[in-house]
């Protein structure tokens, strides 16, 4: 039997398959199915400060929109003040997951204001999360804003939050940094216990009929994993923090490659949404089989064995490989067409 144990954010996990922040954690039954299928931990869907704010604003607008100044109607709806807010429901779900599941629960937070990160981060810790994933993203639409300034914002959030919470913190990052390795090292120095590479975002799409911009997100595909594997490979061994890969990990091959490159865990999302929580079990079995067939004893043994530091040809991770890639589309002169 291969030892699948891994360590992520200081948490001892029984294997490296961790469902990532997704709607799967919204339903308690589905979460239990994931655990039963072998998930070693669970990242909850994100608590969005923006949504907390918009709910409050909506409530406020709704409350005040009622009055149009007509004698017969000083309001149009029964008004409730004692309902469960989005934040209440999130924290309750976190509490339920902690109570009913044995695996570690990593909560996810997306803040928009410095106070928000701290306030909601604290509430998540209080509700019993084992770790906190910060889902930080920033579309750098301001032409005056330098790369340094953006990185400083990330660091500031992390630094301040780590003063207020004691559970491990991991940063889920965008791929758009000029020098990701350097930046990740700075995150580590600022107290991050891990990074998740890389976040996928809604992209603005253009509706050709209405000419309106509509945000869109598609499920990922394995093609997206290679970029992530590269950066894991480059990162491995250069920092001490945990590394998770996320985005496009669908097959056991994807997973194994990530582990070879140096990931501590691989996050799964789209594939589980497509095939259901049970699919995790199959992936786990396939992983086990592959490791057995290839005579690995443990994940530990395999992890990072193809990182840049240990790669057969380390330069491959750094090369842009234009020519080879292009060539792969060119027929060999010996092939008859």
């Amino acid at each position: 039997m291969v030892n699948l144990n891994t360590n992520y954010l200081g948490l001892k996990l029984i294997n490296p398959l961790v469902p990532s922040a997704s709607p799967l954690s919204k339903d308690l039954d589905t979460a239990k199915q994931l655990e039963d299928a072998g998930a070693s931990a669970l990242v909850m869907h994100s608590l969005f400060e923006e949504r907390i704010e918009s709910e409050a604003k909506r409530h406020d607008r709704f409350f005040h929109q009622q009055a149009i100044g007509h004698a017969e109607a000083d309001s149009f709806h029964p008004l409730y003040f004692d309902y469960d807010s989005y934040q209440d429901r999130y924290l309750e779900q976190l509490h339920q997951l902690k109570t009913q599941l044995d695996i570690p629960i990593i909560a996810s937070l997306n803040g928009t204001t410095p106070e928000g990160w701290i306030e909601y981060g604290k509430s998540i810790q209080q509700a019993g999360a084992d770790a906190l994933e910060l889902n930080v993203y920033y579309i750098a639409a301001d032409i005056e804003l330098s790369a340094q300034a953006i990185e400083d914002q990330y660091l500031k959030i992390l630094t301040e939050l780590s003063h207020h919470v004691s559970i491990p913190i991991t940063m889920k990052l965008s791929s758009q940094f000029s020098s990701p390795l350097h930046f990740i090292r700075k995150l580590e120095q600022a107290g991050a216990n891990g990074v998740a590479l890389f976040n996928r975002f809604y992209q603005p799409d253009i509706d050709l009929e209405t000419l309106l911009i509509t945000p869109k997100i598609n499920l990922s595909s394995s093609a997206e994993t290679l970029m992530r594997i590269r950066w894991v490979a480059l990162l491995y061994g250069r920092v001490k923090l945990s590394i998770a890969v996320t985005g496009g990990f669908h097959t056991v091959e994807d997973i194994i490659k990530a582990l070879l490159a140096g990931a501590d865990v691989t996050h799964l999302c789209s594939i589980l949404l497509e095939k259901g929580p049970q699919h995790l079990k199959q992936l786990l079995e396939e992983l086990n089989t592959w490791l057995e067939q290839h005579e690995y004893e443990s994940i530990q043994q395999l992890k990072g064995s193809l990182s840049q530091q240990h790669a057969i040809n380390p330069a491959d991770y750094e090369r842009a490989n234009y020519i080879e890639v292009l060539d792969s589309y060119t027929s060999s002169s010996g092939v008859l067409r």
Partner: protein
């Protein structure tokens, strides 16, 4: 004595608290001003709040007040404790059941916020016309005069009714007591238990009909016994006054508040007495207190138990020295020789004086007067005038007080400057706000803060205008150490504080007329401290200097913007009030506001709390006292409400009402039958829009959609030839007509009325054309109004001066063509972006010159016909829609009556015409009789013929010719439109609607379906969709929306259309044309997004489109004329549902809020609603595919689906 907690609530809340506490079944139906009682009861039950006996009262909304009364009758007969709330016409609908309830000696209390009845006009305001119409039902009648009394007498009434077995009508003045915020003492359960003997409850339960101990009630009786049986109840009535007094005495021992059947106030040896009941008695009390101190020999009697009328108690209450009595009635019985209370008093005293041992030396002189109809002001000055009048040797009987009657000369004159000393220690504040700016809610909040945090008594009363967009609200707040009895508005030169929350009011209202010397004036203005003085009108500057008013300024919108509050200024203005009014120590006041904010937002929305706190702090920093110059420097005069060029009636009556001077208009200026001129909204330039649409001629494709969707008819298109516009203003925009339907040389203009636009932006939203190089630029774009106002006003006037294009040449079947037709429904006061009005405007464009409208009570009758102004208008020939509103419940029948009369008169005209054949051009007679009036040309020709007929008739001197002359108008086609909302069509008026559909008569029924009772504040109707939260469905509506179209289609002779103009405008247009062309009943059910959906109306079109796409609102037309041709009458105009139902409903707060309050129900209803949608679409789809030449298969299909629907 038990502990009594203090509450800041209004009379409706007070009644509802007791009713909910002491009942098991509550049947409700919305009607102003009683609706809030039902709403509160429903909300409490939906939260599981229990009554005194630990069970949650069952609340059931009925289809009408008649239904509610029937339900209550049933519930009482089944042994439950049951009640209802109503007012006005609603009470009239309950009368038949009230006789039964009383006849069967059933204990119950109906709580009535008494209101005027609709006579020459509807009115939602308070008087006793309604309860007086119920005085013969056998209900006992008990009057409360203030919110505290409402609470107290509601409990006393319930106890007395249960013990004495008589039902009781507990009434209080609508829109005074019902809506007056006041600090009152509430009871704890020990008081309830002490007042209500559980044995009585057991007896009521035991009297319930039951097969365990069966009886027969409600028998029919013959002449031999009915009379005797009717007399058998007498002991209960003779017993009630003593029993009521005993109950009042018990209550006094528990609470310290002692009531009597007749409460006397004033000099114990008074000679002159006023007798009255209702909130006016409070004002009388205040005046009597003052005048007695001045040495006047006066007093007053407050009548509490009006039925059974206890002459004995009345006589006991009257002082022995009394020589002159004025009885004041807040009702009118035209033709009677006195109003009801007066006649009862006269009878009682006359009977007493003719008996032995009469305590009076002589029978007092007694006169009866009317006052306060429809909440007309009733002030101490008027009370004094009545007392003074009683001194005169010659007295008017009857008299009126409060109006100037220059027709019958019944009115008394009063001295408007008279004041009591009631306010020497009272702080009085008046606030002018916009309906939507939160002024009223902020003031209610202020009253709560002061009432609950201090020992001060507080009173709040709110005056609204009749508009729904840009409505003006005036809040009257009083605070003082003693209880406040002033049931009248804050008078001229009396206010210690005047606030103007919108600078636009500066030139409209004489606000500082209200200010007393040394008052504080607070102005929200964007002008800075240096320039703000010069923005004030001349008169206002004068008043500030003369009255030494302290003047403060804040730029509330700037503070709101800066602190992230958007456009919400209520907290900011409230902070200013507390900061400078001196009503509370500043620090204490600010702390109290902050606590109130925390209470509102709770722990959940900390950021909102922070935002509000920031706004409060920033307000304190930005509020400045303005140094008042010694000299007046302004030349600004107050706006004239209508132009000098307006017709006399508009200037003398309409204009005065707009200016807020309606109270001073004398009787002679009013049309006695309630007929008013059309087109008056056009005079009322409200300048509501911050931004107005600007037309880009280079992009426009002249599709006409903007004109189609404009809810206020402020964007118009007109066609003309180039030569017509030689004198056009330079900035007047026009462009050559595009399209093959139009001859060369024609131009078209799309012009906006800048001062009538509400800025809703729906025209820009619907505009389909974008600049190819800049997608953000459309053929219409919103631009700031102020810089354009002057120029566009000129252009608008010029546009109006151009002649209308000949209707005969327009293609009404295209949006572009139809939208060139002149709208005869314009500038209504409906909400900005209203979903209803575009349909009415469309009908007025297509048929306005031949339309008669029967309008059910509701939003459309309010924005359509609430004085001062009406949007219904005439064309240049003087033709236009003739409009009337009968009632809420009978509109279909009312419209049918109009149709029947028109048909009859037209038939008579033809008969007379035939009789005159030999005297008139024979050919003309033939052509008139057989005229085809199905199109504009035919209509035009017929009108020409009728004109020529009239000329010929003038020269014939015969009675037949004279008779025909009166009826010639009936030879021209008239289009009858029956218009109303879903509350009318689906609920209260459905029986009549159904009958009219079955009648086969040629009427056009337009149902403006907002899926709730919009006008009364969003109560559930049978049109409300499953899962929607509305008032009376606080936990989501559990049943599906009634399919009115399907019911109508079943008749197979009714034209039925389901339309949503932003879903498919051409389908809407076609439906209107087909409906009108159908020679039989037509029903158009029109989807009308409403503020009650919990959406911003700028999303009106998007919501319509989502409703159509999700299958919530399928578009179709069912044309029975096709059946005759063996064709399928059903035509589906929208595709199969293409988005999940969820994608529609999650965008509207009415549905979405259920996920927060009742998430499991929300999910359940969603699943069911999705099934409803799918089922309905399949049904319609199959109906559209049926072979209608085979009637058997049609019948079989319908039967099968009926069964399926029932299963669902």
């Amino acid at each position: 004595m038990s502990k009594q907690s203090l509450l800041m609530i209004d009379g409706n809340q007070a009644a509802a608290i007791v009713a909910h506490k002491l009942n098991e079944v509550i049947a409700i139906y919305p009607i102003t001003p009683a609706s809030p009682m039902g709403e509160a009861a429903d909300e409490w039950s939906s939260r599981g709040q229990t009554n005194l006996w630990g069970t949650v009262p069952e609340i059931i909304e009925m289809q009408s007040e008649a239904g509610a009364a029937g339900t209550i009758h049933g519930a009482l007969q089944a042994g439950a404790l049951a009640t209802t709330f109503t007012a006005s016409q609603g009470l009239l609908l309950m009368l038949p059941n009230m006789y039964k309830i009383a006849g069967e000696l059933t204990p119950t209390v109906f709580h009535i916020a008494s209101r005027s009845l609709a006579c020459q006009a509807l009115s939602i305001f308070g008087d006793h016309s309604d309860v007086m119409a119920a005085r013969m039902t056998g209900f006992a009648m008990l009057s409360s005069n203030s919110p505290q009394e409402v609470m107290d007498l509601a409990l006393i009434a319930t106890a007395a009714s249960l013990e004495g077995r008589l039902p009781i009508l507990h009434f209080f003045d609508g829109f005074r007591t019902s809506h007056e915020q006041s600090k009152i003492k509430a009871f704890d359960d020990t008081i309830y238990h002490a007042m209500i003997d559980d044995e009585w409850v057991k007896t009521q339960h035991a009297r319930g009909l039951s097969p365990e101990h069966p009886v027969l009630r409600g028998s029919s009786q013959n002449p031999d016994v009915y009379f005797q049986a009717r007399e058998s109840v007498n002991p209960y009535y003779s017993n009630m006054p003593d029993l009521m007094q005993k109950t009042m005495d018990l209550f006094a021992s528990l609470t310290g508040r002692h009531y009597h059947l007749f409460d006397y106030i004033g000099d114990p040896r008074a000679e002159r007495i006023i007798i009255l009941m209702g909130s006016g008695a409070e004002t009388v009390e205040e005046t009597v207190d003052y005048l007695v101190k001045q040495g006047e020999s006066i007093g007053a009697i407050k009548v509490r138990l009006f039925r059974p009328f206890s002459a004995k108690a009345l006589i006991t209450a009257l002082p022995i020295n009394c020589t002159n009595i004025a009885v004041l009635d807040r009702t009118k019985e035209p033709g009677a020789d006195g109003e009801p209370l007066y006649k009862d008093v006269v009878t009682a005293i006359a009977q007493y004086c003719s008996s032995e041992n009469c305590k009076f030396a002589n029978m007092p002189r007694m006169i009866g007067g009317r006052y306060g109809l429809s909440s007309k002001e009733f002030t101490p000055a008027m009370v004094k005038a009545v007392f003074d009048h009683l001194k005169l040797p010659q007295q008017k009987n009857p008299f009126t007080i409060g109006i100037h009657d220059d027709v019958s000369h019944h009115s008394l004159i009063w001295d408007e400057t008279f004041r009591t000393d009631a306010h020497s220690n009272t702080f009085q504040a008046v606030f002018f706000g916009l309906g939507s700016d939160g002024t009223v809610s902020a003031n209610k909040n202020s009253i709560k803060i002061i009432g609950e945090n201090t020992d001060l008594h507080a009173q709040g009363y709110f005056v609204y205008d009749s508009k729904k967009s840009g409505a003006v609200t005036i809040s009257h707040l009083r605070f003082g150490p003693a209880p406040i009895h002033s049931t009248y508005l804050i008078a001229e030169s009396d206010a210690n504080f005047v606030a103007c929350h919108q600078p636009i009011f500066l030139e409209r209202y004489d606000m500082l007329d209200l200010a007393t010397k040394d008052a504080v004036f607070l102005l929200n203005s964007a002008a800075d401290d240096k320039t703000v003085w010069n923005t004030l009108p001349k008169k206002m500057q004068q008043q500030i200097i003369e009255k030494q008013i302290k003047f403060y300024r804040i730029d509330a919108y700037a503070v709101a913007e800066k602190t992230g509050m958007g456009k919400r200024i209520n907290t900011i203005m409230q902070t200013c009030f507390f900061s400078i009014s001196g009503i509370l120590p500043k620090g204490e006041a600010i702390l109290a506001i902050k606590q109130a904010v925390e209470k509102t937002y709770g722990k959940k929305h900390k950021r909102m709390v922070e935002l509000n706190f920031q706004a409060i702090d920033e307000t304190l920093a930005c509020l400045h006292k303005i140094e008042v110059p010694q000299q007046v420097s302004s030349n600004i005069e107050l706006h004239s409400p209508v132009p000098d060029s307006a017709p006399e009636f508009i200037r003398k009556v309409t204009g005065e009402i707009i200016a807020g001077h309606g109270d001073s208009l004398p009787v002679s200026l009013f049309p006695a039958d309630g007929s008013y001129p059309l087109g008056t909204c056009a005079y009322e330039k409200r300048n509501l829009a911050l931004e107005i649409p600007v037309w880009e001629t280079d992009l426009c494709t002249q599709c006409g959609k903007c004109v189609m969707v404009c809810p206020h008819a402020v964007i118009r298109s007109k066609m003309f030839s180039t030569s017509d516009i030689a004198d056009a203003p330079q900035t007047f925009k026009h462009t050559p007509m595009l399209g093959k339907d139009f001859p060369a040389g024609l131009e078209i203009s799309y012009q906006v009325a800048p001062e009538d636009c509400t800025g809703c932006s729906l025209c820009v939203d619907i505009c389909p054309i974008r600049d190819k190089s800049n997608a953000s630029r459309k053929a219409l774009n919103m631009v700031q109004q102020a810089p354009l106002k002057h120029q566009e006003k000129k252009n608008w006037d010029y546009f109006l001066s151009l002649p209308e294009y000949d209707r005969r040449l327009l293609k009404a079947t295209t949006i572009k063509g139809a939208m060139v037709m002149q709208p005869l429904f314009e500038f209504s006061g409906a909400c900005a972006g209203c979903g209803e009005t575009p349909y009415l405007k469309l009908a007025s464009q297509l048929f306005g010159d031949r339309m008669v409208v029967a309008n059910a009570t509701g939003c459309s009758s309010i924005y359509g016909g609430n004085l001062p102004t009406t949007p219904w208008a005439k064309n240049s020939e003087g033709r236009g829609p003739a409009w009337n509103n009968s009632l809420f419940e009978d509109n279909a029948e009312f419209g049918l009556g109009i149709r029947v009369a028109i048909d009859k008169l037209s038939e008579q005209a033809v008969e007379l015409l035939n009789q005159l054949k030999s005297h008139i051009d024979k050919e003309l007679v033939e052509v008139i009789i057989n005229a085809d009036q199905s199109n504009e040309a035919g209509l035009y020709d017929q009108r020409q013929r009728v004109t020529s007929l009239r000329q010929q008739l003038q020269s014939i001197d015969s009675s037949i010719a004279h008779q025909l002359l009166q009826l010639t108008g009936d030879l021209c086609k008239k289009s009858v439109w029956i218009v109303g909302g879903d509350g009318w069509a689906y609920d209260i008026g459905y029986g009549g609607l159904d009958h009219v559909l079955a009648s086969g008569r040629n009427v056009n029924i337009l149902v403006l379906d907002t899926e709730v009772y919009s006008n009364t504040g969003g109560q559930t109707s049978k049109a409300t969709p499953r899962g929607a939260v509305a008032k009376f469905s606080a936990s989501g509506k559990a049943s599906a929306k009634k399919d009115l179209a399907r019911l109508a289609m079943d008749y197979e002779n009714v034209y039925v259309a389901h339309v949503a103009y932003a879903g498919k405008d051409t389908q809407t247009l076609r439906a209107f044309l087909e409906a009108e062309a159908h020679d039989g009943p037509s029903l158009i059910i029109a989807y009308s997004p409403c503020i009650a959906h919990g959406i911003d109306l700028s999303n009106n079109h998007q919501q319509q489109q989502l409703a159509v796409k999700s299958g919530h609102w399928p578009l179709f037309r069912f044309n029975p004329n096709r059946i005759k041709q063996g064709k399928n009458p059903m035509h589906l105009d929208s595709a199969a549902p293409s988005i999940p139902y969820q994608d529609f409903i999650r965008t509207e707060a009415r549905f979405d809020m259920l996920w927060q309050t009742h998430p499991e129900d929300a999910e359940k209803y969603l699943v069911q609603a999705q099934r409803d949608v799918t089922h309905r679409y399949h049904y319609y789809q199959q109906l559209a595919e049926l072979d209608w030449s085979d009637s058997m298969s049609v019948a079989a299909f319908k039967a099968k689906n009926k069964h399926k629907a029932e299963e669902i």
